[in-house]
Symmetry: C2
Subunit: 355 residues, 2 copies
């Protein structure tokens, strides 16, 4: 087990491209989010939480649950929090000790300018904590180069294995805060976990099967390369967006769409739940409804992890059938053709012009 555990941690560091410590917890991603809050801050400290959707609200909830004074920078659903807003909030509050953000806000399909925000935070005493659960593998994240202090990941997204493992990369700046932090924590104990990891152990009973799976997945990612994985997700996302636009549907995240998931507004007067249900019943395909107040208004097509162009083609063709069958007329194959053009431009640069 020690060898497996240490190899997984080493591979994880390599795949994430960081020299920071990487720790693995047996929990969902939310557990690692909590670990970042409860291990790195002290009672009553001031933090900024960027919130562009459901998962941004989770940062706010965790920070408040631990008694932190939380400044919320809220973007309208479908938009991202601008870097300038973070800069202004930092300038107005020199006592801020941490900034929280989602790299990719899955609930609305929006990506944040992590690099820009990191530069702003780096000039202050605050540490920058990035929830990259769906961002890893779908967008470039240079942990060391950009100065990301804590990066949270999960097993079930780009790493393609079942849920159950979460991990954090922790920078030296973040470790320094951990030394004085006094918030209560027990299961999620970064310093204890690091001590265990250095001995090749985990503090609590490890999820051995998932570690084995993670190890295999990391081997695969190392083989194809993290940059290729990201490039692929971005191309799939672009093809999906082009297809959806071609069908006359409106994208939900217009300015800074994420590559992990494409959020699409249901046609006027439609409940997006119908589309989700039709995909499941007719094609055995899982797409997601909106979450919280967005439920019924948008549907979300994921394209991260174990997903490829054949899936995009099938999903778009299925969407065309579902739209037509329920009275929103589209031309069969037209959305698929838009996705095919994106694929072909990338795959056959010359021949694409002929088609």
């Amino acid at each position: 087990f020690r060898r497996l555990h240490q190899a997984a941690l080493t591979d994880l560091k390599q795949v994430l491209g960081t020299s920071h410590d990487v720790l693995v917890f047996c929990s969902s991603g939310t557990g690692a989010m909590e670990a970042a809050v409860s291990n790195l801050f002290s009672r009553g400290e001031k933090v900024i939480a960027c919130s562009a959707g459901k998962f941004g609200e989770r940062w706010v909830e965790i920070a408040r649950a631990f008694g932190l004074e939380t400044i919320v920078l809220k973007a309208d659903y479908g938009r991202a929090v601008p870097v300038e807003q973070v800069e202004q909030a930092l300038a107005a509050n020199p006592d801020v000790r941490g900034v929280f953000v989602q790299a990719s806000e899955t609930s609305t399909g929006v990506a944040h300018d992590v690099r820009g925000m990191a530069a702003a935070v780096a000039r202050t005493e605050a540490i920058f904590v990035v929830d990259a659960i769906t961002g890893l593998g779908t967008m470039p994240l240079d942990i060391d180069g950009w100065g990301l202090d804590v990066v949270v990941g999960g097993s079930q997204k780009a790493f393609m294995i079942p849920p159950g493992l979460a991990f954090l990369a922790v920078s030296p700046k973040a470790w320094r805060r951990a030394e004085t932090a006094d918030l209560p924590h027990y299961y999620f104990d970064l310093r204890k976990e690091k001590k265990s990891a250095d001995k090749g152990e985990s503090s609590w009973t490890p999820s051995t099967a998932l570690l084995l799976a993670l190890s295999a997945a990391l081997g695969y990612i190392k083989q194809i390369g993290m940059d290729k994985l990201i490039e692929n997700a971005q191309l799939l996302a672009r093809a999906t967006r082009e297809a959806v636009r071609e069908l006359g549907l409106e994208l939900f995240a217009v300015d800074t769409p994420a590559a992990s998931v494409t959020a699409v507004k249901a046609p006027a007067g439609w409940d997006s739940g119908l589309i989700v249900k039709e995909f499941r019943n007719r094609f055995g395909a899982i797409i997601a409804n909106g979450q919280g107040v967005m439920k019924g208004k948008i549907f979300r097509i994921a394209h991260l992890g174990y997903f490829d162009f054949a899936d995009v083609f099938a999903i778009i063709a299925g969407l065309e059938v579902i739209l037509n069958g329920n009275g929103f007329p589209v031309r069969y194959g037209s959305g698929v053709a838009a996705a095919q053009r994106v694929y072909a431009e990338a795959a056959f640069p010359k021949e694409a012009a002929l088609a």
Copy 2:
């Protein structure tokens, strides 16, 4: 194990819709083909083998290996052996003791008129032996009603589980021949296997894991219904044919196409292996090359077992991309649209007219 084995045999009988004995062997389908030859005929007897491709040739090879005098009714690749030809051969050879055929000839995508042939054979002393390995679940086969004496099936096709199990349904007329048959056999011993099965046992070490899987698959088929499974395969096959024609490609089996697999001629001057390779490399999808002399000339798209319309859409969209990318221009989405129309006509009879 006894309970599992007996339940699987009972379910198999029910799913096949026969009152005949059904026996399971731990072998590939070819083993059960051999069992039908070696258990039911005597040295030097005369048989007819209908051959419309690679698997028809296998009947000829097995029959000759066991020293049977074998009349070969050969159809050109891409065509089926006509019922009249069987009738004529039977009339000219009243001493024929058996007729062998493929319900669905997988190597060329051709289906035989099993019902018509059965009627011709029923009027004689001969028994009718049908290789239905890819026919079961993709075309109607009324074993008892049409008078099919031996029907051979395998685990890995419509039954959706890994290869490794083969089975035979054996009619009373066939059992009567088994009483006097004197060809050598040992592993494949129908009478021994029936005695074991009646006690809930199998003669040799059983493939327990596959039996468990078969049991689960049979439960699923019972739930959706064998007729629905067949209807689905036929609809998928029709959608695939329409799509392929729309793209300007030529079907290989024009007159009596099988629903298990659609064989398509490669564009003039193309090696079909290129298409197979492109599918694997670009989309991780497996389609089949031609077999034997057809290698390089046709490619074959299967649509049996665990396969649905989303797969058809993805395969056709992928095919369009591959054709365009290699210089055979087609309009993106046009083949997909043809498949979508077939789906929509079946799924939304009214709305389809609008699209």
